[in-house]
């Protein structure tokens, strides 16, 4: 058996994650998802497929949703990254997190981080979405437990609360 004699090529990446400036080294072939999970120990984003089909790894990159499994880590250079760990404000849950809890919008919970990030992106953009708009905005996130009913209702409820708060 060989030793790890040959060092792999690693790139220095500098970006902000959930408001904090971070620096890390990443193999060139490493996905941003793996870097977040393995280098920064932010394991909220999950890998459900690795091919951008399930949305469990959804994060915000400069305010837009992305499947972090489809981005190479070095592509995050200079970006503002937000993960599920960053959507609460201090010790106050984001209204989406609260309505997901109250509305039982999670069962196993493994898709939940991706849904919360996608739903936040939707409500940031469109504070009063129709049910159809919510369903299409979340169509890139797979949930196998809930049938989406309670997720959609929780997003609707969070939208109401957010509109109330901003009035």
């Amino acid at each position: 058996m060989s030793n790890d004699a040959t060092r792999r090529s690693r790139t220095h990446v500098s970006c902000t994650v959930n408001g904090d400036q971070v620096d890390f080294l990443a193999d060139d072939g490493t996905s941003l998802l793996d870097a977040l999970r393995d280098e920064l120990d932010l394991t909220g984003a999950k890998e459900g497929c690795g091919t951008g089909d399930c949305g469990a790894c959804t994060i915000l990159v400069d305010g837009r949703i992305n499947c972090s499994c489809l981005m190479f880590a070095p592509e995050a250079e200079g970006c503002e990254i937000v993960t599920v760990e960053g959507i609460a404000e201090g010790d106050h849950l984001h209204p989406l997190q609260q309505t997901f809890l109250e509305g039982a919008a999670l069962q196993c919970g493994v898709c939940t981080p991706g849904f919360l990030v996608s739903a936040k992106a939707l409500l940031d953009e469109n504070p009063d979405p129709t049910e159809t708009e919510i369903r299409y905005a979340l169509a890139g996130n797979l949930c196998r437990c809930t049938g989406y009913d309670k997720i959609v209702r929780s997003v609707q409820e969070a939208a109401v609360q957010l509109r109330g708060a901003s009035r």
Partner: protein, 740 residues
Amino acid sequence: MTVTENRPDYKWVGTRPIRHDGYDKVVGKARFAADRNSPGQLHGAFLRSPHGHARILSVDTSAAEAMSGVKAVVTGADFPDLPIGHPERDTAVNLMARDVAMYVGHVVAAVAASTRAEAEAAAAAIEVEYELLPVVLSLDESIADGAPLANADNRTAFSGSDDPSNLATVTPLERGDVDAAFEAADVVVEREFDTAWVHQGYIEPHACVVDVGADGKAEVWASSQGHFRVRSQAAAVLGWDTARIKVIPAEIGGGFGGKTTIYLEPVAARLSEKSGRPVKIVMTRDEVLRATGPAPASKSRIRIAATNDGELTAIDGWIGYAVGCTGDMAGFVGAMSVASYKFPNLKMEFVGALTNTPRSAAYRAPSAPQAAFAIESVIDEIAQALDTDPIELRLKNAVVEGDLTSMGGPHPRIGFVECLEAIRDSEHYQSPVPDGAARGIGTGFWFNIGEQSSATVNLNEDGTATVITGSPDIGGSRASMALMAAEELGLDVHRITPVVADTESVGFTDVTEGSRATFATGMAVVNACRDLVGELKARAATIRGVEVDAVAWVDGAAVVDGHDPLPLADITAKAKSTGGPLTVTASLNAGGAGPSFAVHCCDVSVDEETGRVEVLRYTTAQDAGTAIHPSYVEGQMQGGTAQGIGWALNEEYVYADDGTMLNASFLDYRVPVASDLPMIETIIVEVPNPAHPYGVRGVGETGIVPPMGTIANAVSRASGVRLTSLPMSPPKVLAALDDR
């Protein structure tokens, strides 16, 4: 909406508190299987068979072992050869082929290396010499006369024969005089049906981290439906004492039956043992679809006789399941699922047959959905032939308490009629069918199981409590356990911490299957709490200086005539002076799991140009016995329904002739997304199960049984042509429309 029969007035049971593990899951703190890393860990990867059926002549790992970063390589020779008939032989053979690879994707060798990329590269460098064997891909090929064997080790279960066979099980059921009934019938409908292989589609791929120390002890971090089963299966496959293995339950990212068995842990253990390092293995989605346990494809022929006044007098038929590469109980259990209608005359045969495809695993009410699709379709056609309401026809023939199940034995108290009435009386069913759409009705049944559970309840110094069980929380069961404990102890549910403990920290608990967690583990919690209340009364008697008989437990306090109530926290504060810590453990093998019935109603439209079916409205009514946490009961109903809609309309394994799966990704194996579905309206029916202290019936599985028949009935009514093949994907629907 809830329809309730004679329910006592509970304070906590039936309320909807925020689940105790919810916070961690919305902030990203919850640790699932792949979320753990151990210092110094290696990464595992597999070499999988590219052939559907092949003898393994040689495996040369020398090149792989010499590669960068590689620390250990294992093959089938690294595991004991369990004899034919050993209960875990199929598990062992499936997670690492020994002499024969039995499907494309069957593991032949595994590598642990410093990085996953190195492990994958080394696995690809392992050289295997194969001798190709005939591939048996379909049910028809498997049961054909003179068919080659899909697995030469298989024997037909309970046949008494020691000859190799492709048949896993053959189960005939018979009662009454079917021939005479068909002769006397006014209406006879006969149809043939087929359904495709489908996958549970849990979003979390299988993963584990295993650390075997130099002392031979293994710590296993794994996602499963039952960590005690992980332990017993791993011990059997490795040939180890169970005491060497500690399994710590990670949060589980969906299972639906698919995580009731193991694929990774013994391999990671051997790699860890050989390398002296912790080993992490995480499946890719491709591996999950290709090589874990999907649900059997099926074919069936169903003939039902009826009289003009709507009595279903006889059923006659055959249902076959393609079960994959090892023996399976689908054919046996499927037989039990024909239990919804009285059918005085019945003659059925159920067959499970082996194929060179992945070993099938349980998927929510395993084998019942395929049977219900066929039977509910034929019953709908009889309703059409008799020009009668499909619910009234079912009400006329629905089983009630005392009616015989198909496998023998009378039904206990059940709520099928109540579910039919709930749908009949629903706003949905009473509303007009939308223009251009049609409405379908279907039903389903699952009997549920009890099995063994343990629970420990600890009262803390300040009167709070910890409820410790060994049932992984798949969809809110921690909250259910806490609610039952709250009701028993008279304690606020938020002052109770429900915990899922590892295999060394709680008594043995069977795997979470058969919708048993809230039923059986809940019963263990209730029993422990009742013993604890007895102890609390004894302590209160000591404090008050009275006989224990003089103490009553009322709403969380000990009540003695002539004294102020003594709250629980006042007793726990004096635990030290009254006999020590207040802790009770209860264990049981629960009998009397109550069957749960469901009735579904949906409206669909069919696009005549594209063949696309759109589900416009969907309502489900299901008997939960008693809904401990109604939100999570609704969630089970909705989730099962959504999976059933996928099974009905989109999902299928597509195989090439050589047994290669052609659509092993979530892009091509298309599960329903949010924009495919409407809201799924729920009606919880509560006909309490007399065998449970709170009347609980298992609710997890039944929801997936009715949707295929329900949707097929709606599509058939919308299109005027009977759809008999799943999935009802656009090409198939278009072909059916063309054949009108």
